[in-house]
């Protein structure tokens, strides 16, 4: 069964460092998402991406964050200068259609620890 894969599964970084989290969505999907879950808190929407541009983003997704689909298969989330509060599990998701009719398929997550 096709699945969304994420790398790395766990990354530890120093505050102020740049981090890139990578995702390989399901191959025929067109809509891509990043969500995050701070330990003990709810899963939060960060950004949605379609046709090589951001379609929607939350207030969490400030100038420190960026997304890219560099080569038609990978979908990356970059955090330019990490802060302690960026420590969380980051989930990538993809969907064949937009809107709620399109089921989101989630990856297993990348755990980011900022020291």
């Amino acid at each position: 069964e096709p699945e969304v894969t994420q790398t790395p599964s766990h990354q530890v970084t120093q505050m102020g460092q740049e981090v890139i989290l990578r995702c390989v969505p399901i191959s025929n999907h067109l809509y891509f998402y990043w969500y995050r879950q701070i330990l003990g808190q709810k899963v939060e929407f960060l950004v949605s991406f379609y046709n090589n541009e951001i379609s929607e983003k939350s207030e969490i997704f400030d100038d420190q964050f960026s997304v890219e689909r560099p080569d038609g298969s990978n979908f990356t989330l970059k955090i330019r200068s990490t802060k302690l509060e960026d420590s969380a599990m980051y989930f990538c998701a993809s969907s064949a259609w937009t809107g709620a009719a399109g089921e989101l398929f989630f990856g297993e997550g990348s755990r980011l620890t900022v020291l």
Binding site: V4, Y31, K42, S48, E56, A93, G99, A100, L104, F105
Partner: protein
């Protein structure tokens, strides 16, 4: 603004007992409703969703949920749970004009033998 409330952070239950995980939402417009399950060290997996039509929705693994518009609820139920149902369950809502999901805080279902 939309919000989702899952009142129970943990639900312990014995195997083969029935279970209900509660979810209430608030929204000023029509919504779509979802339940996702997260098994240990895995991603979120869709259990079921309500878009329109019948208010009783059946999902995978024997789960079902009922949409109640007047009570703004979407409680998840299973008549007889199994040890393998031990997981975190998330209720989520999406408004019809967006593909952003708003999640609840999750309910940890712990099934004991």
């Amino acid at each position: 603004a939309q919000s989702v409330t899952q009142l129970d952070s943990q639900v312990p239950v014995f195997e083969e007992a029935p279970v209900e995980l509660r979810c209430n939402y608030s929204s000023s417009v029509s919504v779509y409703l979802f339940w996702y399950v997260q098994y240990p060290n895995q991603g979120l997996q869709l259990l079921l969703k309500y878009l329109s039509g019948s208010t009783l929705v059946k999902g995978i693994n024997g789960f079902e949920a009922e949409f109640n518009k007047s009570q703004t609820s979407f409680h998840l139920r299973k008549p007889s749970v199994h040890i393998s149902d031990t997981a975190e369950y998330f209720c989520a809502v999406s408004e019809s004009n967006t593909d952003k999901l708003i999640f609840g805080t999750g309910t940890r279902l712990q099934v004991f033998p």
